[in-house]
């Protein structure tokens, strides 16, 4: 931390670097048309995405946030308690009560409905309403569109692309779902088209195309066994689905590659969100590596819920002081209770200094990972965020502005 400097020096330089970071993040929001927030669950990803979108709106941009699984009270604040297809505008009085926003600023939000986004996609690429209906009514399709791992991620990207293409928004922000297989969402369009085009497709559609007679014995045995294990109805659904999907692969594939193009564009920025815990930082490291492997740089990182920092002596010294005082307070005397109280305060400070030290070590790992990209530190600010007042407070911490 600030060894070799006075406490005041340390505080002043921290403040200066916080302003630099805030400026860099504001610039990032201004120059991007797409922001993707990545991070493990429980680190404040949804909230951070909402704050960044609100900040953009206050800067005069028309901004929309696609949110996936917000905590109920945050969803209520954003007015998106139900899944939807169309973003809903949020009353400016809520996020800009003092009318300070730059002209043109607007804030909208939508809670992703993966199934209906997928349905729309099917309707768009089907030859006609009849084909679309055959697919949408299929039980296997309804499993894929609601339960296949990666579908939600895929549809988040699809929604992102759709909103971007419509051109109504200057900035589209997406908060990605907590995904065990971290970057599934980026590969999601490819994964799904691969899945639809693969050998599975050929084996399974063979009966529908040419009847059971023409497929080879091995495939027939395979199908029979699968239906013995899972039941024939399940298999029939699958076969029907693949048959119905015929002719749509090209459209899906092309769409997926355009989504991918948008994600790799210069105006798309990826922001890592983490808490200063080891597991969250490890998840962030994983995200950063996967992004790097796809030549997608990390544009910024945000670490939420930091414990306070202290510009005094090291934890070890504080701990020794606490222990010394504890021994003194054992000798009965007039000052005993006062000494005991001070000993407790020193011991408590030492504990938080240790936590701060440990968090700094985690931040250092993140810092190395993201190079020159801005790293924002957001302190623990009390209770969870559930209204615009707290979102504004977070905004002040995420995008601090030097008083002029």
């Amino acid at each position: 931390m600030s060894s070799g400097h006075t406490a005041a020096d340390g505080a002043a330089s921290d403040l200066a670097s916080a302003y630099d970071t805030g400026e860099a993040l504001t610039a990032l929001v201004r120059r991007s048309n797409t922001l993707v927030f990545c991070g493990s669950g429980g680190v404040g990803k949804t909230t951070t995405a909402a704050v960044a979108t609100m900040h953009a709106a206050r800067m005069g941009l028309s901004a929309v946030v696609v949110t996936i699984d917000p905590a109920r009270r945050l969803a209520q604040a954003l007015g998106v308690t139900e899944l939807g297809d169309l973003p809903r505008l949020i009353d400016p009085h809520l996020w800009d009560p003092d009318g300070e926003r730059a002209p043109g600023g607007s804030l909208a939000a939508v809670m992703l409905d993966a199934k209906s986004t997928f349905d729309n996609l099917v309707q768009k690429y089907s030859a006609g309403p009849e084909q679309a209906e055959r697919i949408i009514d299929n039980r296997f399709y309804s499993n894929i569109s609601s339960a296949l791992s990666g579908t939600q991620e895929y549809m988040a990207m699809e929604k992102l692309y759709e909103l971007h293409e419509e051109g109504e928004y200057d900035l589209v922000v997406v908060d990605t779902p907590p995904s065990r297989n971290a970057l599934e969402f980026l590969d999601a369009p490819n994964r799904l088209t691969r899945f639809l085009e693969g050998r599975a497709f050929r084996v399974l559609t063979a009966p529908a195309r040419g009847g059971m007679r023409v497929i080879n014995r091995a495939a027939r045995l395979f199908l029979r066994t699968v239906s013995r294990v899972l039941g024939s109805e399940v298999l029939e659904d699958v076969v029907e689905f693949f048959a119905a999907f015929e002719g749509m692969y090209e459209g899906f594939h092309e769409r997926a590659s355009r989504v991918r193009e948008l994600l790799s564009s210069e105006q798309t920025a990826f922001v890592l969100v983490a808490s200063p815990r080891r597991d969250a930082i490890e998840e962030a490291e994983y995200f950063a590596e996967e992004l790097a492997a796809m030549s997608l740089p990390v544009a910024a990182a945000v670490v939420n819920r930091l414990h306070p920092r202290f510009h005094t002596s090291l934890a070890e010294a504080t701990r020794l002081r606490a222990e010394g005082l504890a021994r003194d307070s054992d000798d009965t005397g007039d000052g005993a209770t006062a000494v005991a109280r001070l000993s407790d305060l020193y011991a408590n400070l030492a504990s938080f200094q240790e936590v701060a030290f440990r968090e700094e070590a985690q931040l250092e790992r993140l810092r190395k990972l993201i190079g020159d990209a801005p790293l924002a530190r957001v302190p623990f600010l009390g209770d969870d965020v559930h209204d615009f007042a707290t979102l504004r407070l977070l905004e002040d911490n995420l995008f601090p502005q030097e008083p002029t």
Binding site: A7, S40, G41, G42, V43, D69, A71, R72, R73, F140, N143, A147, L148, P178, R180, F195, G198, R199, A200, V203, L204, F222, T225, V226, R228, V229, L230, G231, S232, E233, V234, D237, V238, S275, R277, H307, P308, F310, H311, T312, S313, L325, D328, G335, A338, V339, L342, D344, L345, Y346, N348, L349, S351, F352, E354, V355, R358, F380, G382, D384
Partner: protein
Amino acid sequence: MLREVMDLPSLLDSRVCIVSGKGGVGKTTVSAALALGCAAAGRRVLLVDVEGKGGLSALFGASPLGYETTTLAPGVDGRVVTPDEALLEFLADHNLTWLSKRLQSMNLIDVVASAAPGIKDILVLGKVKQIERSGAYDLIIVDAPAAGHTLTFLGSAQGLLEAVRVGPVLTQAREVNELLTDPARCKVVLVTLPEETPVNETSETADALVDMGIQIAAVVVNGWYPGGPSVTVEDVTRDAASAGIVVPEVEAESLVEAANFRAMRHELQLHQLGRLEDLLALPFIVLPFLFTAALGREELDVLAAECASQAATLEGAA
């Protein structure tokens, strides 16, 4: 009739205990602490990792767990049960090894998994059920999948019962459902933090589990801050003067900031714990926030002892 004392094994009195909670709440740590606590009371415990991420074995200072059983501590074994391996074993048990090769070579596992969602979870829980049936352990603690997957994971059996009408998968789903809904064989421990969103989600999860007929053994509230008074710089200066100690001003400010942060966190947590206790009439265990640098065996022992001593203060039905 109420009994005065309870111990950890009688709190976790089912043969399978599924530890669940959102990512970041310390589910793996709690699983390990509960295992150690029950082993200390003489139980043979198996810890099951369903993700194979390695966090569990690292806590014990052991190398990553595999599909084979390893000893992690006296009385505590550990192993991984992942869907892919459970599937191979399931097919082998049904004389279908050739099918598993074909499924893999054609990348069809995803097709099968989507045709019957939940099949992967069923395979994992089916394997747990098989271990339970073998009687090799008094208690099997399952570190359940993270994130919002708890209900999907535990609901997979009931979902499959509706989707699949015949065959060995149906049998498996039925048996898993029997295991999950029999409190003598299986209970859930919910792990959470004393914060607003985790409290809300835990209460919703608990309600959903009750609807599914799955019993909850206890709620473990993790990351509990110690309490302490709020103070001002004047308080510190007065105490320093009366004790005849010099406390520099900057240091006094840090002492005050740290004390007030502790008091603020504690107050928020008290409020949230109170809400959770109002929402759920279940036994609670509250584990301290650990200020120490890294979690290892020593910290696990502290938490295990804490679990045991709190279980002893709970009143249970005899």
